[in-house]
């Protein structure tokens, strides 16, 4: 049995030394997607990271200069970790810019995250650009996202090369 995967593919690219860009199409109007990214009761239901984690804190003060705070807890009673940040720019249904770092910062300063929403024909393309101060910090952030050990196949490799 072959699982063809989700309908829309997530693209992750490293367009410059300091950035990570993720692009994903979602089958919903920007109004709903924007809500899912900004309303705590909705954020809690999808922004969970690896399986086996849930959100114990999800505070959002959605205004320029307002703060947000997310804390994830491992369901088996393991340690918690959190991310907090400040909103820098909010263009409803179109664009959010915020700075963020871990509660126990493992890099200096903040990562600047721009989330852009573009609706077309009832679907919304989300583009998240994460800009770090240095390449080392960016690479560390990617490293920290490595939870699952996956063996890369040539197929997958080709796909990533084509995405480039």
């Amino acid at each position: 049995m072959e699982y063809s995967g989700p309908k829309h593919k997530l693209e992750v690219t490293l367009p410059s030394e300091r950035e990570i860009v993720m692009t994903r199409v979602l089958d919903a109007p920007a109004r709903l997607v924007f809500d899912a990214f900004t309303k705590p009761e909705l954020i809690r239901r999808w922004l969970l990271g690896p399986d086996g984690f849930s959100m114990s804190v999800c505070d959002v003060d959605l205004r320029v200069g307002g703060k947000f705070h997310y804390v994830w807890r491992k369901d088996d009673g393991g340690r918690e970790f959190g991310i907090n940040g400040t909103y820098r720019e909010i263009a409803p249904l179109a664009r959010i810019v915020h700075g963020e770092n871990f509660d126990e910062p493992f890099y200096p300063g903040e990562a600047q995250v721009t989330t852009a929403f573009a609706e077309k024909g009832g679907a919304t393309t989300v583009t998240m650009t994460m800009a770090f101060d240095t390449r080392e910090i960016r690479d560390g952030a990617i490293e920290s996202g490595m939870e699952s050990g996956i063996v890369a196949s040539y197929d997958r490799l080709e796909r990533i090369l084509q995405e480039g």
Binding site: L14, M22, A28, W46, E104, L157
Partner: protein, 127 residues
């Protein structure tokens, strides 16, 4: 997403990603993934001069991504799988993490839209 130590893989991971940062070099690797090719064969589809292609190949060779084949005449280039597998695995873990989130978001958005349709219908019936 959990910071599991902040240790950079190694210098060669850096070299791999530097080499991969260029679209022409990624395209060259994409071509070599389908089979070995000489500099002339690589240059043709890109509309680039052979010296320009050679320059890109040097960067890829320094990163250990491409090796020169044995044929002294043609000097075909071959793709070297291991460093690429390491680099792919590295980024793939990150991608996987976010794909899981986005799949949950797909489900949530589907649910929200069904709810909205349902509410509209119920409202209409009540009128």
């Amino acid at each position: 997403m959990e910071p599991i130590g902040y240790e950079l893989g190694s210098g060669h991971l850096d070299a791999t990603f530097m080499a991969l940062a260029d679209p022409t070099r990624r395209a060259i690797l994409g071509r070599l993934a389908r089979g070995e090719a000489s500099v002339a064969e690589l240059a043709a589809p890109f509309g680039m001069s052979q010296p320009a292609i050679s320059k890109h190949l040097k960067v890829l060779e320094r990163a250990g991504l491409v090796h020169q084949g044995r044929d002294a005449q043609r000097r075909p280039r071959r793709i070297e799988a291991r460093p690429l597998e390491e680099a792919t695995k590295w980024l793939e873990g990150y991608r996987k993490l976010w794909e899981t989130n986005f799949q949950r978001l797909d489900a949530l958005l589907g649910e929200l839209q069904t709810d909205a349709t349902h509410r509209r219908r119920t409202k209409r019936r009540k009128k």
